[in-house]
């Protein structure tokens, strides 16, 4: 059983929701970034999404854009994030998902990337701009090594498409709650429940809902119909402001409470 499967299974057995936390690898530099990751992992993040920075993050809002820019300015690249994952893996069994845009991965070479990621203890990849139709080549390199390719589903995804995407899904499914870029929002959209129910008809995999969750009460709200929530921009901002551990604990408690 993979780390991701195990994590969701354990949580399910405990009737708890997963907290999927995003942090940008190398933001603002590698040392601080590693500290933040360890803080997040130590305080209750169940799955770590570790961002690989990209110069043109077309699906990200200002908070993650700036995190990526800081990281790039500090010289971060794919190899450096792999190394970070490897160091984290030494001390944590938490699943690690590398999160990014396709070009740095493509540029690194899928074959080499898959091999080194597996060796570093990475569990999965989530590539924002690699939709199902274009993901075949990358998956071919991931599958044999037991690395999951996380599928994204949006409120705009129609039923027929859901079926196709979810049939090939691995690990867990990432449900994008809002039509928009990443970034903290005030309200969880009203239609989330309906979409999640619709989604559940097509998959037995756990579903994590994300985009726009910024605090404990929102997390609880979003998690109601899902198996977990993803918190990204809010964690990144909290890390910048030195209150990462506190926020992770707050969300954790809210989810568990």
């Amino acid at each position: 059983m993979s780390r991701i499967e195990k994590t969701f299974k354990v949580l399910k057995d405990q009737n708890r929701k997963a907290l999927v936390g995003f942090l940008m690898g190398g933001d603002p530099d590698m040392e601080a970034s590693e500290k933040h990751c360890r803080e997040a992992l130590a305080n209750g993040v169940d799955v770590l999404e570790l961002g690989v920075p990209f110069s043109d993050p077309t699906a990200d809002g200002p908070v993650i854009q700036l995190a990526g820019q800081r990281s790039l300015a500090a010289g971060t690249n794919v190899a450096a994030v792999l190394a970070l994952a490897k160091r984290l893996r030494k001390d944590f069994e938490t699943p690690i998902v590398l999160f990014g845009y396709v070009n740095p991965f493509f540029s690194y070479g899928y074959a080499r990337l898959a091999k080194e990621a597996a060796a570093a203890g990475v569990d999965a990849f989530l590539v924002v701009d690699l939709p199902f139709e274009e993901s075949g080549e990358f998956r071919q390199h991931l599958d044999p090594l037991g690395l999951d390719f996380i599928s994204l589903v949006a409120p705009t995804t129609p039923d027929n498409r859901l079926g196709v995407i979810l049939k090939a899904a691995r690990g867990f499914v990432y449900y994008i709650m809002v039509k928009g870029v990443t970034g903290a929002r005030v309200d969880i959209p009203a239609d989330v429940a309906g979409h999640l129910d619709r989604l559940k008809k097509h998959t037995v995999l756990p579903v994590a809902a994300g985009f726009g969750v910024s605090n404990g009460s929102q997390a609880k709200d979003a998690a109601r119909h899902a198996d977990g929530v993803v918190v990204g921009s809010a964690l990144v901002r909290a890390a910048t402001e030195g209150r990462l551990a506190a926020l992770v604990r707050e969300i954790r408690q809210s989810l568990d409470g």
Binding site: D56, F106, E133
Partner: protein
Amino acid sequence: MKESDKFSAVPDAMGHFGVYGGRYVAETLMPALIEVEKAYAAAKADPAFDAEFRSLLKHYVGRPSPLYFAPRLTEAFGGARIYLKREDLNHTGAHKVNNTLGQAILARRMGKRKLMAETGAGQHGVATATVAARFGMECDVYMGEEDIRRQAPNVKRMNLLGARVVPVSSGTKTLKDAMSEALRAWVAAVEDTFYVIGTVAGPHPYPVMVRDFQSVIGVEAREQFLEQEKRLPEMVIACVGGGSNAAGMFYPFLGDATVKMVGVEAAGHGISTGLHAASIEAGRPGVLHGSKSYVLQNADGQVNNAHSISAGLDYPGIGPEHAWWADLKRVEYVGITDVEAVAAFHELALLEGIIPALESSHALAEARKQARRVGKAGAIVVCLSGRGDKDLESVLEYDERMRK
């Protein structure tokens, strides 16, 4: 398969030109792209769509644009007869409007009430604002803050046309960032908004759709040349930013094996300086803004900033079909530096009384190099993609700097 069939057999159903093209976007946008693709396929099959497009190209845009034999330029170049395809005479002053018109008609058919676009120099922004006004649609144009400063007159034009110019402050605050921001904004507005992409880049079906709309350039030029010279030209030259005027010009000639084709990228300060926009000559395959093609990028796959005196060529990517043509060697891609382009700009103004866009000046500079090679018995058709009124300041400033 016949040579010519090879070129009309692409793209595949997923928008691939060989290994290039495709659709690399967030899942949220995928359904919208599929919707555009289906609507475009239906429109293409509908004579009413074609009739409306043709009628507006004629009465609104002013097509056909002339194919003008340039006697004094020919003499100065000392070789092949030089013909200019006069896209500078189109409404709004460049080829861009051929495409925005097509997309706007499509958007209206799809029931969208709002258009959005990215722009660098502002030409595509103006062309989109123009058709939005023509069809009574709202229009948001995303433009880098740096470009808003540099291209103030085009910002004024867009405002007068009723469009909202949305300043983009991320990254280098230029075209690349404007397009990224436009994609972000589209994610949030995808249901009532049609994204009018300004070149043959972006996710499928944009590259093929924009190429089709722009093909009127090459179709006309080919007919006009046949009528005027009773044969085909030896060479066709066009500048390549994203590659829409070039794709529109080249596509109808692809099957003509005797016609050599040259796409001209901006070599900026020179390829060796790293300050250029020559994606094919100095880039490598990668994914940017929704499709796979040649991209200027560093060793880590981070996209480099492009550099060119010409804002319309100042883009680190290129349309995927060009990447494919380049690999097949059907089209040759070369670079022209700022210095060479500015010289060609002056030369056309002084010899023919036509002030070309700086983008188009790159194609002219290449024609100067090729003229003797092609020889006096031959002819070169150059796509004069736009007029240079927008570039007066840039050129005069450049000349000033060079004098020092």
